[in-house]
């Protein structure tokens, strides 16, 4: 529940200027290409970047990678949705009741720091290798950041806004829906932004550890098969996926809670 979570998301600039960080990216990829072609690094595990791109293009056109990405994302988003709903609900109860906070606070603080990958082996025993386990992993990943941020957001709701609504005779359920929830949305989204980045990691790790699904499993499979080009292609896909998800989320945030940034409530 750090303040940093609420800081304005940094937008990575993709414009090409002499000082642009993108030049470094291109330079590193060029170094990769040269090091593999000239024999600076001479290993079957270090294919030229263009071969990796070619493998990526091939498997994309064949439909294999889109299918893998789709199945990974489907599980991740299913888990995120479930974890977010549960996190908001629990956060509301947590934030509203001091008794609940006192009763459950220590338990939450003990469970929260457990690295999610560590609970994958026991989860496999109960939920098996497939969707149920992986969706649960993503859900648990989302649950805690959303819970803590929701509870924190609840404390930032203006008392005057709630009293104003009461004065107009607005019933309690509508006050929750029309005042409290919009007011805490920026906090929930900040939690969700953290959860999104973590969920991609934990979903892929779950796929790598168990089962035969998604980008994570493909990555490990290619490693075992000694197909380095495809293995790196999978890494590249994950990099692009992570970048794209964050970028998309920042845009969504700007649309949904522009008022929050405009009023300087983010500090």
């Amino acid at each position: 529940m750090s303040e940093a979570v609420l800081a304005r998301p940094a937008a990575v600039s993709l414009r090409l200027r002499p000082s642009s960080g993108l030049l470094l990216v291109l330079g590193l990829l060029l170094l990769w290409e040269i090091s593999a072609r000239t024999g600076m690094v001479d290993s079957p595990n270090w294919p030229p970047f263009l071969h990796v791109l070619a493998a990526l293009a091939r498997d994309t056109v064949s439909g294999e990678i889109p299918l893998l990405v789709g199945s990974t994302l489907a599980r991740m988003f299913a888990g995120l949705a479930a974890g977010t709903l549960a996190g908001v609900a629990a956060g509301l109860i947590f934030g509203a009741s001091r008794l609940v906070r006192r009763l459950l606070g220590p338990t939450v603080e003990l469970i929260r720091p457990i690295p999610i990958p560590a609970i994958i082996p026991p989860l496999v025993l109960f939920l098996g290798l497939d969707d149920a386990m992986k969706v649960t992993v993503a859900a648990v990943t989302a649950f805690f950041p959303v819970l803590t941020n929701t509870a924190q957001g609840l404390r930032a709701v203006e008392a005057d806004q709630l009293a104003m609504a009461r004065s107009f005779g607005v019933p309690a359920h509508r006050r929750l829906l029309r005042v409290t929830l919009p007011a805490i949305l920026p906090y929930v989204l900040a939690g969700l932004r953290v959860a999104l980045a973590l969920a991609l990691v934990t979903t892929v790790v779950a796929e790598m550890i168990a089962g035969e699904q998604g980008v994570g499993h493909y990555l490990v499979l290619m490693q075992f098969a000694g197909r380095a080009e495809e293995m790196y292609a999978a890494v590249l896909v994950l990099a692009l996926l992570g970048y794209g998800l964050n970028r998309g989320f920042v845009l969504l945030e700007r649309r949904l809670i522009g008022w929050f940034y405009a009023t300087g409530r983010d500090g």
Binding site: D160, Q161, A163, S167, F168, P182, A262
Partner: protein, 263 residues
Amino acid sequence: METLILELDAVGKSFPARGGPPTLAMDRVSLSVREGEFLSILGPSGCGKSTLLQIAAGLMEPSAGAVRVAGRAVKGPPPEAVYVFQQYGRSLLPWRSVRDNVAFAVEHRPGMSRSRARAVADAQLAAVALTGFGDHFPWQLSGGMQQRVALARALAAEPRILLMDEPFSAVDALTRLDLHRLMLELWEKRGLTVVLVTHDVEEAVALSDRVALLTKRPSTIARVVETGLPRPRDAVEVRETARFLELRHELLDALLTRGGHAG
């Protein structure tokens, strides 16, 4: 015409104190507000004026005594009354447009469609001279304009009584006079009852039919003064009359020399 719209009967309020007996903030406040009058509650800072108003609005429970609005005991916010907050910036909803902020006052009512709520909002925005600002957001407007949005929202609920908590204290002097004029105009046009809490003597005298003087804690009503100033009145010109100056002197004297203490 002598209908009493708001009655406070020996209202007291005490707050729990750490490791001691509760602090008495307000003691046996009795006050009757006639339908259609403009009454100010005047008192020094920290005397519990806001507390008193919130009790009248049903937003806070008194520790002693009774509150009646339109003859009925108050147990929660009565439909006849609307409370206008001091910090307009904090009671407006920043994620809603100005129009939707005003519509908020009525949109929950049974049978109220979205389009009708918006039509109501536009009409009220026109009444406070904010036509054309419906699509703006509150934080895009000046302080005076934001307070007019809050006023339009209060009027949209068509209350019989407006309970206003220092609504003009957070704006500059010129804007305040502007809002005073608007307030008198609306009050006259709509036959409202207004209870205004303020620490500004001139504001209280210029606007009111009666001024109730509240003492320091534990606060109680020291006296109630009829202004006897003519109606309709201009909120600026009235300040040049002899009666205004006399009342101003009298009330300032009471606030300053007695430190607002009863007796």
